[in-house]
Symmetry: C2
Subunit: 240 residues, 2 copies
């Protein structure tokens, strides 16, 4: 079964989350079951770049990765949209592992796939209230319980924070899944801003404000608070 791919690029650094800074290739799959108010990848699901979606075999994706990354990479990140919609990713993951390439994935945790247990760096990013989405805790409970007992690699929770309501949501998630590593990420509320300098200044201020809020919080003790490094480096530019 083919995989709907909207872009493949790299090597570059992973700008956020549990393997922040990691040299990696990116594969972005098309399609999402959510429609977050502040989604920075609407082009993966809103039809605006439908013409760019390529239906690719796993082998074809491997070829493209090697064309673009040569022998300079050992890590691939699959993001979306929501890659967890695609059961057929299993084969691609096996091909990558066969080449000693590690695999990271990011999904909001709305769907389970049995290949989750094979992922080296799995990020679950349940969406806080500001997104307009509702968390299905039954599914999330099941996913986290399964990962806890059966996953070979590492997994973590990442919550993007835009406001106080999101912080309260993060507290709830942290209490519900105390065993899971928790990353809090500054929300980018200026995804249309063109000036990289201004964006950086703005996001750095927001990062500092988030740090301040978290440092005095006695529920959010075992957490990591991070910005998106790629927005510091390249603003809202895509494919870098």
């Amino acid at each position: 079964m083919k995989i709907p791919v909207i872009e493949i690029f790299g090597p570059t650094i992973q700008g956020e989350g549990m393997v922040i800074g990691r040299k990696t290739m990116f594969i972005r799959t098309a399609g999402c079951d959510y429609s977050c108010s502040w989604c920075d990848s609407t082009f993966t699901w809103d039809g605006s770049e439908k013409h760019l979606i390529k239906m690719m075999e796993a082998e074809e994706i491997m070829q493209t990765l090697y064309q673009k990354g040569g022998d300079q990479f050992g890590h691939v990140t699959i993001s979306g949209g929501n890659p967890a919609l695609l059961s057929q990713l299993s084969r691609l993951i096996d091909l990558l592992h066969h080449e000693q390439i590690k695999v990271a994935i990011e999904t909001q945790g709305s769907r389970w796939q049995s290949w989750f247990t094979k992922i080296d760096d799995l990020t679950l990013s349940p969406k806080p209230p500001s997104s307009g989405m509702k968390t299905n805790y039954q599914t999330l409970d099941f996913i986290i319980d399964s990962l806890q007992h059966r996953q070979k690699g590492e997994y973590s929770l990442k919550i993007v924070i835009f406001d106080e309501g999101d912080l309260t949501y993060a507290e709830q998630i942290h209490k519900r899944y105390p065993q899971a590593k928790l990353f809090l990420q500054v929300g980018n509320d200026e995804i249309g801003m063109e000036s990289s300098d201004k964006l950086m200044e703005h996001l750095l201020q927001k990062y500092e404000a988030l740090i301040e809020r978290v440092m005095t919080n006695n529920i959010l003790k075992d957490v990591r608070v991070l910005p998106q490094l790629h927005t510091f480096l390249w603003g809202n530019k895509r494919g870098v």
Copy 2:
């Protein structure tokens, strides 16, 4: 045996390395067996702040941590100077663990201490040629082998990069210890700069240049490339 402490502060975020972004308290010990040309903590060993060094019992340190951090922290980072000069840290580490507090440490890898195996997040940062220091590979081999077989927590290598020679050194280290996670960090060559904005702009440019160099390198494949987030946020200011 008392511990020579030069500052205790936090909670704040860990700005660099393997647990970048982690909410943590900092304990900075005095004394170093190195004298790196670009050391950003010379005050820990050059005598300039000798009057600030307090000889503290482990229990006293615990009290100070709770005074400053209340019930808002679950992680403590011990840095220096070189904390690995101090065998007496063992007791402090046990007290922290007894309170379910995790412990990180950073050392250049010039000395072994048996308490290394108890550390949750251990960073070994051997110093590249630009530092003017020489790596004792016999010691480093012994430390990494011991950690590999006996450490309970996680460990990683972190190399600060100032120039091409440092990058070559990083390649050598990566080939010698392929099993160890490797972090490359942008060197701060402007530790006297007072303007945070200018420093940030400068370091961001250097970060981007380092990324470019590493992305096209086929030896440095499985690496993470990171800036020091605290320099972005607070410039060269101390104690934040």
